[in-house]
């Protein structure tokens, strides 16, 4: 081990240059470049006179044992682009006359304890990495860096100094043996991804002391605690814009979430494992009741338990959360029930009335937009919660022609606009995606606008009354054990309707949409009744490619009406009571070996069209009523130059005006294509005549005579 002193001011610290290294303070240059076992000193004699100087690190990471910058009488800048500094001993920066601008990692790789890191308020330009098996580092001053990454060894904030750490991220996401001693320090972490990163926490010891870990980002911070015990952990942004997450089954003394006071709307914290809070779980109030937080399981319909000794909750919506422990049942101020909760006492469902006189937001500051009585005073406490009913009075509130904007992804109970008839209103959602837990009732004077998805997730019986008003928003039904029942025809714009969980009950009505998507493995039912799903889009407009958990009931119709090509992706499902209808000029392609109650072609009254099957599939029908008409033949074929199979178990297919190719008709029924159909070749089982007169006709009767 040797000592190396920097001399002669500005110079380059690389792997070969000896110009600026001396064996003594202020001595002659020319000493060897310091190795990992050498101590380096930057002191009063490192510069020329009292001039400022820059030490630019280059080549591979510069190494030393102890790094000491002390006694400088001119400003020293430790520079280097994407070059790091590896310190095998301790590090001391000088509080004044010293700046670190290098952008690489500062790595501490000692393998013995007793090392110190004393930055004296000088920030690292890059990350601080602690990586030495058996090493131990104690802060001698607050540490400010990019990522603080503990890979091996013991990181200690000092039991006497309780120094703060300010970093983008505290990471120790590995299985190495390491210890984190946080003492009574405050750790401020600003990362927008994972400010605390210990998802892999094997062989880690966290001694939280009475520390406080603050996750400060407004944009989706993740506290990946790794199932360890912490003291105070706080999400401190007052304007959370995207969901934060707590992962790992952690234990906290206190867990707190700051309410929103900017970025109007609702901030969300997702919980991905059960948590224990031995002190107080706090969600503090925001600026107004419309500034809300939502605590949810990270997995829809999967409960997470928060075992709390005490709670302090204001303007919080809960979804799939159980609160257990001494605080259960938990209560608070304006708690919204987004279903799947237990151990929480929610306020009784109330009915509130819109009270703004002109165009305004659903969630407003100050006195808000709602009143406890129709035409009553604005009341900031009457913001409608997920269990409430929000009514728009017949007139004045708002004035005819006004727009009410759902200005955030709020959790909303019932929206009742049925009184809006001659006094019109627009309910706009812009790009927001609210979730609806009650009924949606349009009035005949309602106009809807917006592009964010309307999700129906009430997990009970919900109804949609459209009143002939087109929903411009995509509609998603995700209501485990619940149902959404149409009260009249529902028409969307050129958007997708998605059934994720629960029952979509058409009763006898027509659902018209651009695309219908129902491909997942959740329990869900399309209850057609005698209703119809009419799909106007092109491309793959029906998707049940994954139909695990899907039930289809009723005797309704799926009609694909586009004038352009469209595909029905059944996924090999039994639509046994359902009629599939070709309702447009565009060729209808059916993929998968599906079963249908019937197949029809209502477009024959207008023009010729096609129904194409995927080669190699077998489509089974109870009835076949797809025909063309004179000069408007219906083409039956395969998508590719190979055959498909059509199967009907019994009876007679009596079609006509078909142009058939690549088609094998089988199953036991008589497949009569009709006298006016054409055989395009490569067919089997089709009989290109009209069916014989049914037995029991007059001729047979005469024979018996």
């Amino acid at each position: 081990m040797a000592d190396r002193y920097w001399v002669l001011g500005t110079g380059t610290w690389d792997s070969t240059s000896t110009t600026n290294w001396s064996t003594s303070s202020g001595g002659a240059g020319g000493a060897s470049v310091p190795t990992a076992s050498d101590n380096v000193f930057f002191d009063v004699n490192s510069n020329v006179g009292t001039g400022a100087f820059t030490v630019t690190m280059a080549n591979s990471p510069r190494v030393c044992n102890d790094f000491t910058a002390s006694g400088l009488d001119g400003t020293m800048t430790l520079a280097g682009t994407s070059i790091g500094l590896t310190v095998s001993g301790s590090l001391t920066f000088q509080a004044t006359n010293f700046t670190a601008t290098y952008t690489g990692d500062t790595t501490f790789n000692a393998t013995t304890t007793g090392k110190t890191v004393t930055t004296n308020g000088v920030s690292f330009g890059g990350n601080a990495v602690f990586d030495g098996v058996g090493g131990g580092w104690t802060l001698g001053f607050a540490l400010n860096c990019g990522v603080l990454n503990l890979l091996n060894g013991t990181f200690d904030t000092s039991s006497s100094g309780n120094y703060a750490v300010t970093a983008s991220q505290f990471a120790s996401n590995n299985s190495n043996v390491r210890t984190i001693n946080l003492n009574a320090s405050t750790i401020n972490l600003s990362s927008t991804t994972t400010p605390w990163s210990m998802a892999v926490s094997a062989n880690a010891t966290v001694n939280a002391g009475t520390s406080t870990i603050n996750c400060t980002s407004a944009s989706g911070p993740v506290f990946a605690g790794g199932g360890r015990t912490y003291y105070n952990v706080a999400f401190t942004s007052n304007g959370l814009t995207s969901a934060a997450t707590i992962s790992g089954a952690n234990t906290f003394t206190n867990l707190s979430i700051t309410g929103k006071s900017n970025n109007t709307g609702i901030g969300q914290i997702n919980i991905s494992a059960n948590q224990t809070i031995n002190g107080t779980f706090t969600v503090s109030a925001g600026t107004a009741s419309a500034y809300r937080m939502q605590i949810s399981s990270d997995t829809f319909n999967t409960t997470r338990t928060l075992t709390c000794a005490a709670v302090s909750l204001t303007d919080v919506d809960f979804r799939d959360i159980t609160i257990a422990g001494a605080a259960s049942p938990a209560s608070g101020t304006r708690l919204g029930d987004c279903k799947g909760n237990s151990g929480i006492t929610f306020p009784a469902a109330k009915t509130v009335f819109y009270r703004q006189t002109g165009s305004a937001n659903w969630g407003a500051t100050s006195t808000g937009s709602w009143s406890a009585t129709s035409g009553g005073a604005l009341d900031a406490t009457q913001f409608p919660l997920a269990q409430d009913t929000a009514i728009f009075p017949a007139a004045t509130y708002p004035a005819s022609g006004s727009t009410t904007t759902i200005n955030a992804a709020y959790n909303i109970g019932t929206i009742d606009m049925s009184l809006r008839t001659s006094n019109t209103m627009t309910l706009a959602t812009s790009t927001n995606s609210p979730t609806i837990y009650g009924n949606w009732i349009n009035g005949t004077g309602t106009t809807l606008s917006g592009t964010g998805t309307l999700s129906f997730a009430g997990r009970t019986t919900q109804q949609i009354t459209s009143s002939a008003k087109t929903f411009t928003q995509p509609i998603a039904i995700n209501t485990p054990s619940g149902s959404v029942t149409l009260q009249d025809a529902l028409t969307t714009g050129a958007v997708t309707t998605t059934l994720t969980q629960g029952t979509l009950n058409l009763q006898s009505y027509t659902l018209s949409t651009n695309i219908f998507s129902c491909t997942n493995s959740n329990t869900r039912t399309i209850a057609f009744g005698t209703g119809q799903i009419s799909i106007a889009g092109t491309g793959t407009v029906w998707s049940t490619s994954n139909n695990t958990g899907l039930t289809v009931t009723g005797t309704g119709t799926i009609s694909l009406t586009s004038a352009s090509a469209k595909t029905f992706t059944g996924g090999g499902f039994s639509f046994s009571g359902i009629t599939l209808n070709q309702g447009g000029a565009g060729a209808l392609t059916i993929t998968g070996s599906n079963t249908f109650g019937n197949i029809t072609n209502t477009y024959k009254t207008t023009s010729a069209t096609s129904i194409l099957f995927t080669a190699g599939t077998t489509s089974t029908f109870t009835n076949w009523n797809a025909s063309g008409e004179s000069t408007r033949l219906l083409t039956i074929g395969s998508v590719t130059a190979a055959s498909h199979t059509l199967s009907k178990a019994s009876g007679t297919v009596s079609a006509d005006y078909l142009s058939i190719s690549q088609s094998t008709a089988t199953g036991g029924a008589g497949w009569y294509a009709g006298a006016n159909s054409t055989n395009g070749g490569n067919n089997s089982g089709w009989i290109f005549t009209a069916p014989p007169a049914p037995s029991g006709s007059n001729s047979n009767f005469l024979v018996f005579l």
């Binding site: 009260q487 009249d488 958007v495 009505y509 106007a536 092109t538 009254t605």
Partner: protein
């Protein structure tokens, strides 16, 4: 009161309902006109120029 009604067309069947106050005071002709208007509006929506859209895949 709710009045269910249906229209058949080349695009399939359109089934809808009118939700009216019990004392709506509308004549039969007015009600029939309302039904026809809803059907006409439906035809207009489903025959609007096609829009390409990728189906949403749920988790």
């Amino acid at each position: 009161m709710k009045i269910d009604f249906s229209f058949s067309s080349q695009y399939g069947t359109f089934s809808d309902a009118l939700h009216l106050p019990d004392d709506h005071g509308l004549s039969d002709e007015q009600i029939e006109a309302m039904k026809q208007q809803r059907f006409d509006n439906w035809i207009a929506v489903i025959t609007a120029p096609p829009v390409e859209e990728t189906p949403t895949e749920e988790v």
